[in-house]
Symmetry: C2
Amino acid sequence: MKYRRRKRLSAEEYAEGIIKGDRIILSRAITLIESKLDDDILLAEEVLEKILPHTGNSLRVGITGVPGVGKSTFIESFGKHITSQEKKLAVLTIDPSSQISGGSILGDKTRMEELSNDPLAYVRPSAAGSALGGVNYKTRETMLLCEAAGFDVILIETVGVGQSETTVKGMVDFFLLLMLAGAGDELQGIKRGIMEMADAIAITKVDGDNVRRGQLARAEYQNALHLFPPSETGWSPKVMTCSSVDKEGLDDILDNIMKFEKDMKTKGYFQSNRQQQNLHWMHETIESYLKRSFYNNSAVSEKIDSLENGVIQNKVPALTGARKLIDIYKNTKN
Amino acid sequence: MKYRRRKRLSAEEYAEGIIKGDRIILSRAITLIESKLDDDILLAEEVLEKILPHTGNSLRVGITGVPGVGKSTFIESFGKHITSQEKKLAVLTIDPSSQISGGSILGDKTRMEELSNDPLAYVRPSAAGSALGGVNYKTRETMLLCEAAGFDVILIETVGVGQSETTVKGMVDFFLLLMLAGAGDELQGIKRGIMEMADAIAITKVDGDNVRRGQLARAEYQNALHLFPPSETGWSPKVMTCSSVDKEGLDDILDNIMKFEKDMKTKGYFQSNRQQQNLHWMHETIESYLKRSFYNNSAVSEKIDSLENGVIQNKVPALTGARKLIDIYKNTKN
């Protein structure tokens, strides 16, 4: 079999290319970051260390909402609005289907055709993976690479039905929740707790026949948010309406995000939040390593099903199940 | 030094005593469960295994609310209402002060004097400990012992300001949130996300001058809850008002809990929720063991501060910090 072998770049070459804004090298670096080969992992770490001083200058925005809320269309219109202000934009999207199909990543690019062809925009879809409930487990590092490449705004899209929101909330400065008008069945898909994580809510598809319903929903949600305990930063999430078709309300949303950035920077919460996120990410990484090491242990795997069954059926105390597995693990690790 | 040495009971004796409802043996068993001595841990496990077939028959209710909401007074009145219906009641309270003071557990008993003297009630305060954000790390096992001792209802009180709610939510059938009328400053203390965990909300101190305000708050909260995504069980949390002083509304709350139990049992969610909780508890126990083993490792402890600082200051990538600590851990564990 013949294949073209690409020359392997050094960490230095990757870092230089990224910092110059070379998109081909950026894309290759992201692929490197996502790799699970030992050699790649070490090289990726070196690249990260080199670009780290060039990170931290973009605004990181997470966007979530259930399927059907119009996420891609929103990101396309909102993204164009951002680039129309001469801001460079990177969009990291998670392809929800890829977990099942094993990866038709092209889908995403076609979903956001206009944005993909915008010279100020960079759209990078990634397979969802199962590690962190749908978020690619290297999304955070991908974001750092984009930052070093000089993008002003980074949008990270999540699916809005899994645990990925918590993960994304933990890596962005601003978390935007997209909702549909009407508090009925459409809400079924949204996980509890997500509303309280939002820094703003945008009600989508508020156009045509839907305008009045959208305004009502806006008022209702705004009311509901007042009942939530206030955030320690003093930020009050605003509910806005928008239409991706009519390009309405997009400026309000961007203004709100900019106001948030300014407020939080003045109060010092912007930086302290990022510091806490960094620290948290280190510990998350450690803890997921520990769990992998435990649950992938072959002696543990062998016993876990029967102990789990015993615990589920209330025949084995949870503590005993845990202690037995821990003993097995301790006796077999090298 | 002279001290009276109590004869150590066998697992069999403990189990028999508990199942017979002997409160002295129950109390000693709880102390055994809370012990951190290796011998006690193994004996405690044996006791748990023996009583396990006798557990599962009580209704487990978590009660939370910020300090000042009137938790003890509520539990006292509500508890008396429960025992007045000839139901046997166990109350497990967490003493919030004991984390600081190192244990003045007596405080709790005096807080609920009437209930403590009720022959149908058993009040067991425990030091909060730091393990799980204020919940004693053996609260779940203590609950099982009480269940085997034949209590019909078990109330578990949490402080409402830490992470303990998630832990308690994970061990009870029904989670009751106590709130004060007025959505202002009183809310500051409640952690975000707790409202969405509640199976019901009770607004306390709705008496005297406060009645109208309480009624208004009830309507407001009920409205707000409608905007939350519905739970998959189909249960809609109700907002109720009550007065511990006037003994008003306590029957409504108990009725609501009983209705919940009936509904969930009919739909099968009651059992499946408990099975998932059991399983989850086994994994929680494993994961907290893994973390303790990692962070208590002396070589890890030695390096962690400087790596954490590097990560906070954005000088070390979080991944690198994690990888370095993991390497240290792998190289030093035996």
